[in-house]
Symmetry: C2
Subunit: 332 residues, 2 copies
DNA sequence: CTGAAAGCGCTTACAG
DNA sequence: CTGAAAGCGCTTACAG
């Protein structure tokens, strides 16, 4: 410790933490610290009551541009508040998600952000609550984006249902009547909301979505490729394919290209999220644009500001349909 | 603590850590722990000598598919070894990079991985060494990918120079003689290597790269867009544009499209890295393919395996030129 | 196998 | 402003 190096004692602590200390002593301590490449042990520090400056963010997959974009927003606000942020990926493994929360909780991180749809699974919900409750009671802050009927925490909610419904209307307006959907795992709340919103809105317009036209795959590029391929193998009977996620739409593009089919010449394709890359595709993708960075900024802000209401706060974020070149007009 | 809840004392510690304890007591402790939603304080634990299971990974920007892909590889190996990983983004701010290392060091993370080119900056190098040296001396493991002439740690090195040279040859072979380069910040070692390798190989073939044809921008999609636009404004005098990074090439595509120029009809474009999305562009991008996931897997492995040699270990990873549709043959 | 005790490295009231 | 002391919550030799 810097102490031996100098003559003072726990005054070093004060000097290092910028509390009032005679400039002389201050300098001596700081010099010694620099000389020894001294780094205060964060654990001891935390144990003794000092607080952490590193918030934890848990998402499904950093490799996915959707989460990356949201994480970008989180980091912007964190940076502006002089906080560091560490990111974790669960790869949609509920166990691992809980392991991360548990770790962050054990580390006494000042805030935990959960990014991405929760799992519709009673066991998971209970385990998660068991972790979060004591953390919150201990003064920890938790905020989430999208998910979690069950978790009683501040949330940023993309309007998945309304967005998918709006997309249905836009597609109907273009003249489409026969649809297929590239769907994701049914255990995800996001899937349920988007698929439900889309289907219900079609139904409201008297168009039924044939269950055989809904193919489920992982929420990845390859998942989209496979799902689209399967659809094609069954003999695609639709003028328009709605991918529940832009990332899946990218896979669908590839699958169609590999079959020599053109978008939107042979079939229209639409997505959801408006991840940045989607504008750079050929053709640019029609999608429901979510303000991704902003979602991230908002959760971080929620976690940073005191909740003075007695209920959990909910920030809803609207998605807007952006019609680009991937969806053609169809004669009615 | 679980202690009060039961009757035993620090035996609880043993029970919780799976050491030999009478099943009876074990059960009692475990039950109490579950009941209280008890989570051992990781700080106290670490302070008392137990070791951490969470490695830290520091990269420039998780939002960039290049880093995301490498991080994916890291996580695969980490997961297989029952380690959690937390990811940090520096956004190419040297100060912040050091802040993260310092934090990870203070937290006594078992390993720190630095992903991405270092800064050619003496002050930064010194500060970084000052952080890393004591960490290593304290038993911490450090491994890096790409960078760091100065840091004496285990490294995974993409062959940037050779890759760029190979790209030069491939492009020459297609008949190109007049080139432009979309370059990144000169403070990054990656830029120096790739630009140097490209330029030198051209020179070896008697083709000089006009310095006015090398435009510098940030290593981002928008950086590529701007650089390409600037090139166009100057009156592009080249048949082929080499972007030092795929991400920049994506921006270049957009800039060209906005000017109504076609790739490769009006100008050929080549990139570097082979990030996943690049295959899905229209046209698919010619690039130097780096085994990104594997880079990540290798650094994690380096950090996990003891270095029994007396020197630092270096794993070189070769990049391979993949000619796709974005580069046209040109009459010689 | 299981207690009682010391110690991990800091911070923070408490006196001085 | 600056010491001396207690305590943060665990783990781990050390006896028993």
């Amino acid at each position: 410790m810097a102490r031996a190096a100098d003559v003072s004692l726990a005054t070093a602590s004060r000097a290092l933490n910028g509390m009032r200390v005679t400039p002389q002593l201050r300098d001596r301590v700081l010099a010694a610290a620099a000389q020894l490449a001294y780094t205060p042990n964060a654990h001891a520090r935390a144990l003794a009551g000092a607080s952490h400056r590193t918030v934890g963010v848990i998402c499904h997959d950093v490799t996915d541009p959707y989460f990356a974009a949201i994480a970008g927003g989180v980091m912007r606000i964190a940076g502006a508040n002089d906080l560091l942020v560490m990111l974790a990926s669960t790869f949609r493994d509920p166990e691992r998600e809980i392991a991360y929360v548990s770790m962050l909780r054990a580390e006494r991180a000042p805030a935990i952000l959960l990014i991405g749809s929760g799992f519709e699974d009673a066991r998971w919900e209970r385990a998660m609550e068991a972790e979060l409750k004591p953390y919150l009671d201990g003064g920890g802050r938790v905020a989430v984006v999208s998910r979690h009927r069950s978790l009683k925490v501040d949330s940023v909610l993309p309007e998945n249902r309304a967005g998918a419904a709006a997309m249905a209307r836009a597609l109907l307006e273009l003249g489409h009547r026969r649809f297929a959907v590239l769907s994701g795992p049914h255990a995800l709340t996001t899937v349920i909301d988007r698929l439900g919103g889309f289907r219900d809105e079609l139904a409201a317009a008297g168009v039924t979505l044939d269950p055989a036209h809904v193919v489920e795959g992982p929420f990845t590029r390859d998942g989209g490729y496979q799902a689209m391929t399967e659809l094609l193998d069954r003999g695609l009977d639709a003028t328009c394919v709605f991918a529940l996620t832009d990332v899946m739409a990218i896979g669908a593009y590839a699958a169609l290209r590999d079959r020599g089919l053109s978008v939107p010449g042979d079939v229209s394709v639409a997505g959801f999220d408006d991840i940045p890359i989607v504008r750079d595709l050929t053709p640019p993708l029609t999608t429901v644009a979510l303000p991704l960075r902003e979602l991230g900024e908002k959760v971080m802000e929620l976690a940073l500001t005191e909740n003075t209401t007695r209920r959990r706060r909910i920030v809803r974020m609207t998605g807007e349909v952006v019609v680009r070149a991937s969806t053609a007009k169809v004669g009615v």
